[in-house]
């Protein structure tokens, strides 16, 4: 499962990017690549050239911009998920982002990339349509805006020409106190939704609905806004008796999709029931916000671990043929199509990262990129230069010596065949680096992107909890606690 050969460019500016895209019909933009790379690995996508905009200056930001929250296209989903402005002003997106893939794919996947990819089940697209977001794009010389409702034409089809680059998106801010609801059903929590539903409401002090937005995703080829239901519900108290028929009528004429996992009938029924639930959840949320002394959404949820969104990398254009792994810099000489995983294994002899599926689902290839768990099969080696990469070999303190976390896996026997183990330990390491006292649910979530077929996970969860406990109990200088797992951190960048 290796991508077909392609050329790789990392333009310094949008002008340059647009020129590359115009010159070559087969060229495609890549930012995070979390959807594109698996398609390339299966050779279902065969771009002749990848135009990498991930580090282009000025495209990674979250800021308040008039009546909107503006998010740059290359802002990672993870950065947005943890951004205080998103929590405070864009609670619906904050609620939806944890449903996007896994922690490890959100680390690389971008807001703009998800929108431009236009998957029918994408949560970010649903939020954009529901809230009436506006996308900004660049096509050749021209910069223009397009409403989200007009942007999505079908599954993986947008209104933009292949030469265009999405540069950002503006989600309107509702200044009044709002409540949000987000509902999703899928086979497994991180799978593509069978159906998802989003709602945002604002209520008058007496509880009547002043404003409401309702959207349904994954049921149809593009995200659906239930404008008819919204009209019917403004001015009501959003009782179940009001919401049910309004949503039902709005979905009456819809033709849902069917696939291997869910029938059209299922999607039709569940779209209705999740949309109702999302509205009721938003309504309850709005009432709770009203009661609280401050809007709940402005309260920090967990630690905000993202200092800056933009990359520190200044020389964005320079493709340095070097890879910084475990503190050492290696010259690399690989084809652009070589994944980071294959490069680590075949060129650097770092065999602790394993290939399991090579399409980004099993997590056996997980490494740390700038301290964050990332799938190395979903990243080409040429995209990785300048980042600090840590593999399992970099966590092991010395030959024959184990870190506290590694030792905890031995103590609980949090493994059997050992194939998924290095990746599992790296995912757990990334968790503990930011959260010294994780709950069981947080541990489960942190390792949920890593499939283990042997253990049933219980002894892995126990290992991570044991390591956390031992690390908390360790009498270590505060300064070293950021990296208590082995050797000192090798300038792991954003932690």
């Amino acid at each position: 499962m290796k991508a077909a050969a392609f050329a790789y460019s990392r333009p310094a500016s949008l002008d340059e990017a647009c020129a590359l895209l115009t010159a070559d019909d087969g060229a495609r933009v890549i930012a995070g690549g979390q959807t594109l790379v698996p398609l390339m690995a299966m050779r279902l996508a065969r771009p002749t050239r990848l135009v990498d905009i991930a580090r282009m200056p000025g495209l990674a930001y979250v800021r308040e911009d008039g009546d909107a929250i503006a998010i740059g296209a290359t802002t990672s989903q993870r950065a947005a998920e943890h951004h205080p402005l998103v929590h405070a002003m864009l609670p619906l997106l904050a609620r939806a982002l944890p449903f996007v893939g896994h922690t490890a794919t959100r680390a690389r996947g971008t807001i703009g990339g998800s929108l431009a990819n236009a998957d029918a089940a994408a949560e970010i697209a649903l939020v954009a349509v529901t809230l009436g977001a506006t996308l900004t794009y660049r096509d050749g010389e021209q910069t223009a805006d397009i409403a989200a409702a007009e942007f999505f034409l079908g599954p993986m089809v947008t209104a933009l020409a292949p030469s265009a680059v999405v540069t950002g998106v503006r989600f309107p801010i509702w200044r009044e106190r709002v409540g949000v609801g987000f509902q999703e059903i899928n086979a497994r929590k991180s799978d593509f939704a069978f159906v998802s539903a989003a709602a945002q409401v604002s209520l008058a002090p007496d509880g009547t609905c002043v404003r409401i937005a309702i959207g349904v995703g994954a049921a149809t080829e593009v995200p659906l806004r239930l404008a008819m239901a919204e009209e019917a519900l403004v001015g009501t108290r959003l009782t179940a008796d009001a919401v049910r028929p309004a949503v039902g009528d709005a979905l009456a004429e819809v033709t849902p999709m069917a696939d291997l996992h869910a029938s059209a009938d299922y999607r039709r029924r569940v779209a209705r029931s999740l949309a109702i639930r999302a509205v009721m959840e938003a309504c309850e949320d709005a009432k709770a916000v009203g009661k609280a002394s401050a809007p709940a959404h402005t309260q920090a949820r967990g630690q905000n671990r993202i200092g800056a969104v933009a990359h520190a990398d200044g020389a964005a254009n320079a493709i340095l043929p070097t890879l910084r792994v475990n503190g050492q810099t290696h010259p690399i000489d690989v084809e652009p199509r070589t994944t980071l995983l294959d490069c680590l294994r075949d060129k650097l002899g770092l065999l602790g990262a394993h290939a399991g599926c090579e399409h980004g689902v099993c997590g056996a290839c997980t490494v740390l990129v700038d301290g964050v768990a990332v799938r190395s099969c979903l990243m080409f080696a040429v995209q990785a230069d300048g980042h600090a990469i840590t593999t399992i070999e970099g966590l092991t303190p010395a030959p024959g010596e184990l870190s506290v976390l590694q030792d905890a896996f031995c103590e609980t026997h949090g493994l059997q065949c050992g194939y998924c183990t290095p990746a599992m330990i790296l995912a757990a390491h990334a968790l503990l680096a930011g959260n010294p006292s994780p709950t069981r649910d947080e541990i489960v979530d942190a390792i949920s992107g890593n499939i283990c077929r042997c253990t049933g996970y219980a002894q892995i969860v126990e290992a991570v909890a044991l390591a956390a406990e031992r690390l908390r109990g360790a009498n270590r200088p505060v300064a070293l606690r950021g990296s208590p797992f082995g050797r000192a951190p090798q300038d792991d960048g954003v932690q």
Binding site: M42, I185, L260, A364, Q406, E411, H413, Y419
Partner: protein, 798 residues
């Protein structure tokens, strides 16, 4: 463990020595091994479910950069013998690459060898194969009917196996029973799907005439089969047993891959490697497991006591005969489950179709059969309006009835099923659990309690082979261990197979340490290659604790006996007066008179003049162990002892379904497990919990689904859904210990535990949840959206 420790190291909660290398990323898996000059294989696959191969044009592929060779099926078939089939089916031969006809979408048609895997994939796309499509059949029952398209024309039908057995007076028992009941249940096509695909590297050394094989393999007689197919002596095939295997649970059979690369390396003169990618693995590797329809009929009395059962099992084994038809044979060893059913009629049918070939999957067909038995007993309870637990209790074999002979000829060794159930009910607080289910129902949710009581036959006495193929008179299923003490006194134990996560090195160390009364950490455990190995049957059939543990025990005992004899002779005392104590030999009447470990070792290695007469020098003992209770052929009416040991598991869970969504959510899961004496609690616990997770997958998520055109649609991990940490609930494990009389410490097997009963228990829970709607689901997997559709249809009914 609540029982007092009878052992020094066995049963104590010791670490697993293998873990150290894995947590450091220092496992040595097949893909980690690269010999200088290694070239890489990618395969060309057939896009059609059935097609004649008209022509293969290799020219464009050979013109690509870095390409060394394109191999087709005709060339390979001319140089090699077909792969071994357990049945005698000369008209349905299996080869690594299709010859003339391809029989499933994804079947390998040609293989490309290039400098890198990426270049090999580039060239594989350029191999132009002209096909003429043929009629095909996907459904097992359709394929069984006369007139169906034939998967192998030369075989004359699609039926590989169709055997009927009657054990006891079934007709009379049916006639004498007041109640009868019939049901059909289906086990969907799923498998174990390890995270590591199969991989193999082969290198032929023409100067030494040895084929070195590094593979992620779990297969009995693997070197012999490679040698036979390649027509070289077994002594020319050197399989390296020290390759770590990244999970298998039965499927890593890899014989066709190995014959392919074995031929290529001999033909081309450089090392050749094939590491399946996930698509190759899912579509055409040794990936799939049972797909089985059961028709069950039982006769029972008014108290729900089952007297007799008729079972027809039809398995759709895919396009070729691998070992899969035998997966209908293992369940003969526990055909009545843990229940006292007096007579059984069993019909086993293996039928071919245009789907991917099946291979051995964890529990080798027993888990589907357990599911069918458990569904049946629940229907008996429902039919009579009796409590499902009470009906089970009435039918379960009682503790005092062991050893218990079942109608099909196996004698269950030991068990205390009622005690295990009582423990689980107490742990789960069963009355509260029922109250919680009822509370959830009152809230408008669908809620159900899932129950299953299942057996794990263990020990790998595979007498289903002679049972299903009378031309095969195999009754030997040995395993072996060699232990040596060097002249420095260090102990080395050799095992003779690969492992895929079962912790065999830890087990051997523990057993040898126990017997020789030394710290197990002092026992080095090695894995000689296959040429240097004693006979082994590899870790299949939950056999290694019994067989490798047994062989290590007996070898260590023999070694200890030699040390005692050397010590007694050197002390000049009768053998009966010498006792072994922590490595020394002591005169029991005068404890100050002793020979230390170092002295005994020195005598054995250096002082021949002090050895007892007739003793061979040095300290090295091998033991090759035959499986306990094994060694007899089936009787004419098809009764045979299979599997020496029978572990028991009892699952109890609470499942909740939101009726609007249909997605089952497991809220509480308690399992009781009795595999006799546990050698390493960490390992056994992990296997059981992992088996349950695998069972959750088979029950709710995993299926190799095909569309009507014969294309497998669940061929990536986006559509074949493996449970993640989110999908596996916390599981409360209750241990119980009923030792087996047949094994050295009382241990039974546990490599398949959890998986034996989890699918049945989840099906039980879902069906209990659905009962108020009048729906029964009798097929696995029970996928969320499909359940949602069934629930909606039931609720819309007036």
């Amino acid at each position: 463990m609540s029982a007092p420790h009878r052992f020094r190291f066995v049963s104590s909660d010791r670490r697993v020595r293998e873990d150290r290398r894995f947590v450091a990323g220092k496992g040595r898996f097949a893909a980690d091994i690269a010999l200088p000059g290694t070239r890489h294989v990618a395969v060309v696959t057939c896009p059609h479910p059935a097609a004649r191969i008209v022509a293969i044009d290799k020219s464009a592929a050979l013109a690509k950069p870095g390409v060394h060779y394109v191999l087709d099926g005709a060339e390979l078939a001319a140089a090699t013998l077909p792969l071994m089939s357990g049945l005698d089916t000369p008209g349905a031969l299996r080869r690594p690459l299709a010859v003339d006809v391809a029989r499933y979408a994804g079947e390998w048609v040609a293989a490309v060898v290039a400098d890198s895997r990426a270049l090999a994939e580039d060239a594989a796309e350029a191999v132009a194969v002209e096909y003429e499509t043929l009629p095909f059949v996907l459904d097992g029952e359709e394929a069984y009917k006369p007139g169906s398209p034939l998967v192998h024309a030369a075989h004359g039908s699609n039926v590989l196996l169709d055997r009927s057995f009657v054990w006891g007076d079934v007709d009379q028992d049916f006639a004498g029973s007041p109640h009868h009941l019939k049901l059909t249940v289906k086990w969907g096509r799923s498998s174990t799907v390890p995270v590591e695909t199969f991989g193999v590297l082969a290198a032929w050394d023409p100067w030494r005439e040895v084929l070195d094989v590094y593979a992620s393999i779990q297969m009995p007689k693997y070197p012999d089969q490679i040698a036979a197919a390649l027509k070289i002596p077994g002594s020319s095939v050197r399989v390296h047993h020290d390759v770590d295997v990244g999970g298998s649970y039965g499927v890593k059979r890899g014989i066709k891959h190995t014959v392919l690369v074995g031929y290529l390396t001999r033909r081309l003169g450089f090392p050749v490697r094939l590491i399946e990618d996930r698509l190759e693995n899912m579509r055409g590797g040794d990936a799939h497991g049972p797909e089985r329809n059961f028709d069950v009929e039982v006769a029972f009395d008014g108290r729900g006591v089952i007297r007799s059962m008729r079972m027809r099992a039809l398995d759709n084994v895919g396009a070729y005969a691998g070992r899969s038809p035998f997966q209908l044979g293992k369940p003969v060893s526990a055909i009545v489950g843990p229940y006292r059913i007096k007579s059984v009629a069993y019909r086993a049918i293996a039928v071919m179709s245009n789907k991917t070939v099946q291979e051995a999957v964890r529990a080798f067909g027993q888990s589907p059969t357990n599911y069918a038995i458990e569904r049946t007993i629940e229907e008996v309870a429902n039919c009579l309006g009796l409590d499902r637990l009470e009906v089970r209790r009435r039918n379960l074999i009682r503790h005092e009835e062991f050893p218990y002979l079942i109608p099909s000829g196996s004698t269950y060794d030991s068990g205390d099923y009622h005690a295990v159930i009582d423990k689980v009910l107490a742990r789960a607080d069963y009355d509260k659990l029922v109250a919680e289910r009822d509370r959830l129902r009152a809230e408008g949710l669908l809620a159900g309690i899932g129950i299953s009581a299942c057996l794990e036959p263990s020990g790998g006495n595979s007498s289903f082979e002679p049972l299903l193929n009378p031309k095969n008179a195999t009754t030997t299923w040995m395993d072996s261990c060699r232990i040596s003490i060097d002249l420095g006194g260090a102990i080395t134990a050799a095992m003779h197979t690969t492992s895929s996560g079962q912790g065999h090195e830890t087990m051997v160390g523990t057993v040898v340490g126990e017997v020789l009364e030394v710290d197990p950490e002092r026992v080095r455990v090695i894995r000689p290659d296959s040429i240097a190995s004693l006979p082994s049957n590899s870790p299949v059939g939950s056999r290694m604790a019994i067989m490798l543990g047994g062989a290590a025990f007996h070898a260590a005992e023999a070694l200890k006996a030699r040390l005692v004899a050397i010590g007694a002779h050197d002390l000049g005392i009768p053998l009966a007066r010498a006792v072994y104590r922590d490595g020394d030999v002591v005169d029991r009447t005068a404890p100050e008179k002793r020979r230390t470990w170092a002295e005994l070792v020195a005598i054995a290695h250096r002082h021949f003049h002090r050895l007892p007469p007739g003793f061979e020098p040095g300290l090295s003992v091998s033991h090759i162990m035959q499986v306990p209770t094994g060694g007899t052929l089936p009787t004419a009416d098809g009764r045979v002892q299979m599997y020496p040991c029978y572990a028991f598991e009892f699952h109890l869970l609470l499942v909740v379904i939101d009726p609007d969504l249909g997605k089952p959510e497991i809220r509480r899961y308690v399992v009781g497990h009795d595999c006799g004496t546990v050698i390493n609690p960490k390992i056994v616990r992990g296997m059981t919990l992992g088996g349950i997770a695998h069972g959750i997958g088979a029950a709710l998520y995993e299926e190799f689904a095909y569309d009507a055109q014969g294309q497998m649609v669940a061929q990536s991990f986006m559509d074949y859904l493996l449970p993640s940490a989110h999908e596996v609930p916390e599981i409360d494990l209750v241990e119980h210990e009923t030792p087996s009389p047949h094994t050295v410490f009382g241990q039974k097997g546990s490599g398949e535990s959890g998986y034996l009963g989890a699918p049945a228990a989840i099906a039980s829970g879902v069906n209990d949840a659905l009962r108020p709607l009048g729906i029964t689901v009798n097929s696995l997997p029970m996928k969320a959206a499909r359940l949602g559709d069934l629930i909606a249809a039931a609720m819309e009914k007036p």
